[in-house]
């Protein structure tokens, strides 16, 4: 079984994000960049499948040259090879451009499963996996909190508002996984050493044959304004010295909850 895992490098979500008011883009300078923690679960899901059934896990990412570090992290977890789509002409791509670039970069490579996180932790639109499925003409199994593959089929437990649905699709298929699907492994030192020698293919805009359908020439939308949201005013913060519960109960009574 051959699995492709799509990953994104994002600013450390534990540090507050900033947008440049001039360029209206994410500030990347001086910010730690990490493999999106949501994507670690996608990598783990892919690794578990190939460890069970054989085959290879390939990691693909699109971003600036330093996004290579995110791919290396996934390789250190145990993935076999990487593809980095990087090109100045792809800077500031929207979701659809990203999906087109990924679809073009993997044409004819015959993956049985393409696994993604449900959404990036920074952008959160969650559009790329479904767009990728559409461009490739594949079914999408989304919001999976459990994934099983056998007999040429994938079956997931798909999160819903009041529980989950059991959903099935034939391979090849695109799957998005939630954080609860597994416990992502931590790369071991040996894995980190091995990752340095694993092949990462670099792909540029010229290799994709997209002819103006991705990147700057193909933007479907533009950010025109950024404004701080009206901030909620912080209220009173008290330290519990034995009276904390009483203070909360008083407040609940004021609010007529009690």
């Amino acid at each position: 079984m051959n699995v492709l895992v799509c990953v994104k490098q994002i600013p450390d979500p534990n540090a507050p994000g900033k947008l440049d008011p001039q360029t209206r883009r994410l500030v990347r300078d001086g910010v730690d960049l990490v493999l999106d923690p949501g994507d670690e679960h996608a990598v783990e899901a892919g690794l578990q499948l190939v460890e069970k059934d054989g085959g290879e896990a390939t990691i693909i990412s699109m971003g600036p040259p330093r996004a290579l570090e995110a791919i290396r992290r996934a390789l250190a977890m145990g993935a076999h090879r990487g593809i980095l789509i990087t090109d100045p002409g792809l800077e500031n791509s929207d979701a659809l451009s990203t999906a087109r670039a990924i679809a073009a970069a993997i044409t004819g490579q015959g993956y049985d499963l393409i696994i993604c996180g449900t959404e990036s932790t920074d952008g959160s639109s969650g559009a790329v996996p479904a767009q990728l499925a559409e461009l490739l003409g594949l079914p999408l199994l989304s919001f999976a909190k459990k994934l099983e593959v056998s007999d040429g089929k994938a079956v997931i437990d798909r999160q819903t508002d009041d529980g989950y649905d059991v959903v099935e699709a034939p391979l090849p298929v695109v799957v998005t996984v939630t954080g609860g699907i597994n416990e992502a492994r931590y790369p071991a030192l040996r894995g980190i050493m091995q990752a340095k020698n694993k092949e990462v293919k670099h792909v540029g805009l010229g290799d994709l044959g997209l002819d103006g359908k991705a990147g700057k020439l193909a933007l479907t939308q533009e950010v025109v304004d950024l404004t701080p949201a009206e901030a909620r005013k912080a209220g009173e913060v008290v330290e519990d010295k034995g009276e904390g519960a009483k203070r909360v109960a008083d407040f609940l009574q004021e609010l007529k909850v009690i």
Binding site: Q131, A169, Q221
Partner: protein, 323 residues
């Protein structure tokens, strides 16, 4: 007048609450058409009309319920080609997101997700979405050919019936929906039990985070919630750890709630969580870390140990209720 469409998700013939919010917004922007798909969808027509739909497309094929996204995308793509609407709005739900995203790739149109508002501007649309946990508002304009597809977060708009609403014109569709392409089929549906009111409708929510330390500590939340008539919610860390089912999750990936009172226990207040609850009228937080970001949002914050304070609070509530 601009043609504004609403993807009207229904469950057993009732529109999902978010659909009424979308219609309220849509009718302020143009001539509104609702598209209601799946078994029983025709039962939703009257309500859709009441909230502003002038016309409703209905197709009751079970495939819309039992196959993920693709039948709806196929049908919407055909209808859009025929009628050429200017704007199509979807709820930021599990299905809404899948359908809108696939459709944007099919039509090569702009898709703007996580929106909280759409306004008409210079003959086009401007879409507002919060980023970074709602601390910053981004305004985006489409640069592709119409229609612009927008995913609006639940509870971003207050639903209100239209002042003057007639019965909408109904177009029943019966064309076959079977696809030649492989699809994702729902085999069965499982419901997870939750006691008390539904999270989305609850006036009071008691919500727990990783700071509770262990899944068994949710028992005291259940107890407190029962005393207050509240629903129980959880942060992503908690559902990802398997302490509570995903249906309890509040935040970016989970539910958006707007209760009168939100009580956050052992929740640090990561942006992923706050985007789903900062619309609460009043927020109370208990957390042992005085630096926790939740205290910047809370109307009342108590720095202390939830394991000590919550049981005391349950006792306080009980004695004040005269038990």
């Amino acid at each position: 007048m601009a043609g504004v469409w609403v993807f009207a998700e229904t469950v057993d013939g009732s529109p999902k609450p978010v659909v009424l919010e979308l219609l309220t917004k849509a009718r302020s922007l143009g001539e509104t058409t609702a598209v209601a798909l799946g078994p029983g969808a025709s039962k939703a027509v009257a309500t859709l009309g009441k909230y502003g739909a002038k016309r409703v497309y209905v197709h009751e094929d079970p495939a819309f319920r039992d196959t993920l996204a693709t039948p709806a995308v196929d049908l919407l793509a055909r209808l859009i080609e025929k009628d050429q609407p200017d704007l199509v709005i979807f709820g930021m739900t599990y299905d809404g997101r899948d359908v809108a995203s696939r459709l944007s790739a099919r039509l090569s149109t702009a898709l703007i997700a996580n929106a909280t508002d759409v306004v008409s501007k210079n003959g086009g649309w401007a879409i507002v979405s919060p980023v970074f946990g709602g601390t910053l508002l981004v305004t985006t304009v489409p640069r592709a050919k119409p229609p612009t597809l927008v995913l609006i977060r639940p509870k971003a708009v207050a639903a209100a019936p239209a002042a003057s609403a007639g019965a909408p014109q109904v177009q029943m569709l019966t064309e076959p929906v079977e696809s030649a392409k492989p699809v994702a089929r729902v085999l069965r549906r499982e419901k997870e039990k939750a006691s008390g009111p539904k999270l989305e409708d609850a006036a009071v929510i008691v919500s727990g985070g990783r700071g509770l330390g262990a899944p068994e500590n949710f028992k005291m939340l259940d107890e407190l919630a029962a005393e207050l008539g509240a629903a129980v919610g959880a942060s992503r860390a908690v559902v990802d750890a398997g302490w509570k089912p995903y249906s309890f999750q509040i935040g970016q990936t989970g539910k958006t709630v707007k209760p009168a009172v939100y009580i956050a226990l052992g929740i640090s207040g990561a942006m992923q969580h706050t985007v789903g609850m900062k619309g609460a009228r009043t927020i109370i937080a208990i957390n042992k870390d005085p630096e926790a970001p939740i205290f910047k949002l809370a109307d009342l914050g108590v720095v202390g140990d939830v394991h000590k304070i919550v049981p005391q609070l349950i006792q306080e509530v009980r004695s004040r209720k005269g038990k």
